[in-house]
Amino acid sequence: MNLFKIISDIEQIDPEVSERYSFYSRRNLLKFGSNLVAAGIPAIVAGSLNKALAQSGAPSAAAVATLQFALTLEYLEDEFYRMGLAASGLIPAADTKVIAQISKHEAAHVALLKGALGTAAPAKPTFKYPTGTFTSYATFLATARALEDTGVAAYKGQAGELINDKAILTTALQIHSVEARHASEVRRILGLKGWVSDPAQTTFTQGGVALKTLPNTTGFTDDSFREAFDEPLTKAAVLAIAAPFLG
């Protein structure tokens, strides 16, 4: 199994998706809840997700696909940090607390998403890592930065897919901002700013508003305008970035 296959599967099954996910019957709704409990998910989270299911009958096909996509990214992040922490002599003692905290969150995200998806959860793919990932700390950190910034952009890019699944949207947003905290910290360890200035952003326009002519911004650099808005990535763009990790 690889990322591309998961995604193409999801896209191809669109017509039958309601049938394919008909496990969200009443019986499986209960199973969904028990999965969350088994995964150690606090009842309040399980409750809110189940409430959303109860209200809508089932999560939309778009929401299921988004959660599967998210789980695959979380699998990668989770394994990456666990391998990094296990690699002898890789992470300096001074940075261990930071990396361990990130790793803890990624493991929690995997458990949360697996629990939420139940039988619809894809298996963990086999990942591969570029040479030096776990022997050079610089390479490890650079990879961490890429994964975190991509994770932020990936969740952001899928938010619209969840607009009709309110409880799932909220949960996704709560993961999204944690990835952003991670990204900021990893960037700062690398000696970078915690925020992203994407040189590809040349329009300086958001939501139809021309940023550079806004009042009270005289003297602000292009970087400030770019950094103030984190840009999303489409699924396809995320997959292209994830490609080197696919086994």
Binding site: P42, A159, I175, V178, E179, R181, L214, P232
Partner: protein, 238 residues
Amino acid sequence: MKKQQEEVSLGMLPGQLEPVRVGRRLFLRYAGAFATGGAILASCKNGEENPTTVMAPVDLGSGDVSILNYAYALEQLEAAFYTQVIATPYSGMTDAEKTLLTDIRNHEIIHREFFKAALGANAIAALTPNFTTITFTDRSSVLNTAKAFEDLGVSAYNGAGSLIKDVNYLALAGKIVSVEARHAAAIRDLLNPKSADFAGDDIVAPATGLDKADAPSVVLPIAQTYVKTQITATNLPK
């Protein structure tokens, strides 16, 4: 007009305050500012005639506009705070800290002005901050306030996302919330470098790895303690 103004403004004053008699001169100034749709706050700053603040409450409105105004209110608060931080640096502020805090100030000003422009005629008035609890000369006071504001902003956007109907507004909120989260991590790292605090167990639930998501009814009373202008939000979507 006069009667209506008094009812609205007095009715919304915080509970313990005695009703305030608005002097004729102040009222004229107040009403004039109201009529021109803007700088009520400028007149309120000059309070020698009436030591009790009389300020028009602002209501966030309803529907997506109310959520955008909610965000605008929070961005106003953050922008005003960091503007003061940079204008009167705390003692011992390093160059690196000044660069970082100036970046954040600029982002928050851009967010504020963006919302104002996007809302157009629907935008709430400028809010008057109340920073009396903050010691701007003290690093710990400033950075701990910054941490509280950034964490509050993240939880507010996370909690408001599901209240937004228009997918384009949701996308914009998404573009901003992660910037606030990046700020929060950086500020937390300044307070306790290279610890777990950048995404500490106090703000990211360890069992789920989830950041906070708070409803406006939770966020606004906290924000209100830093804003003199009374903010009302009776018609927000639920």
